[in-house]
Symmetry: C2
Subunit: 152 residues, 2 copies
């Protein structure tokens, strides 16, 4: 894990690591099967130096890990896989997807459906309380703690 960003706000810390459009799109590619540098490059059309820098940042911060592989007759290389922490970002990524499909709709409709594997039931992203019940967004309260700078 890299150095934890110096900010008491967890949203700001996450954005220090994930900041920037390319990072979320790299995570999208990794979530839909890309693992090799060439796959990320062709999936995103991103400049190689930007891609290298973003992948390194994600590895340093424990979001992705390097996995060695070697094709017959070629030198050893690395592919990139999501860590457990990286997979936990799926909820953020699919939250962006859900919002974009609703509020910035595409003429042909959504390019991906979110489903429960096996049953095919549709899945959405939302708020859940500790007894497993969905909570309406208007009932979610953000309560500042003693760790909040305004209360220090």
């Amino acid at each position: 894990m890299g150095k934890i960003p110096n900010n008491s706000c967890a949203i700001a810390r996450s954005l220090e690591v994930l900041g920037g459009r390319w990072t979320f799109l790299i995570l999208r590619e990794a979530s839909t099967g890309s693992s090799r540098f060439s796959e990320f490059r062709s999936g995103l059309g991103v400049a190689p130096d930007v891609l290298t820098e973003r992948l390194n940042t994600l590895v340093e911060n424990g979001v992705m890990q390097k996995v060695p592989y070697r094709e017959p007759g070629e030198r050893a290389r690395f592919s990139y896989a999501l860590t457990d922490a990286g997979r936990e970002l799926l909820v953020v990524l699919l939250g962006l997807q859900q919002w974009g499909d609703k509020h910035l709709p595409w003429p042909d409709g959504p390019s991906f459906l979110r489903q429960v594997e096996g049953t095919g039931r549709p899945v959405h992203i939302g708020f859940i309380d500790d007894s497993g019940n969905e909570v309406d967004e208007r009932s979610v309260a953000l309560v500042p703690t003693v760790a909040h700078p305004r209360l220090k």
Copy 2:
């Protein structure tokens, strides 16, 4: 609503509108009570020209709306309030918070707790199927549709 970004991926379209760290932090401030330009400025320490540009982008894209107000003896001004679409981004914002508090922890602990208003029960962000049951992240499948460029 502004022009919808020209990309079949809903994640990419959302990021065109929301892209950049400041935008998410403006939404954080709006979700915790800021509405005036001066409040966003002092809460974020952002340069005024950047703040103006980001607020305008959010208004153009239907995430925030301008609300006129006038202090006694002063000229009419505008404050900025989240629209319904803007409030629906709370799930993304608090997804980033949840992830940052877990994977990039702050020594003093979380600066905000997510609770159900009234009951105080803790709230997390997750996946929910159409019968209201929480779905484990490993059971969520992304199924490409005919709108996906690779299937055209």
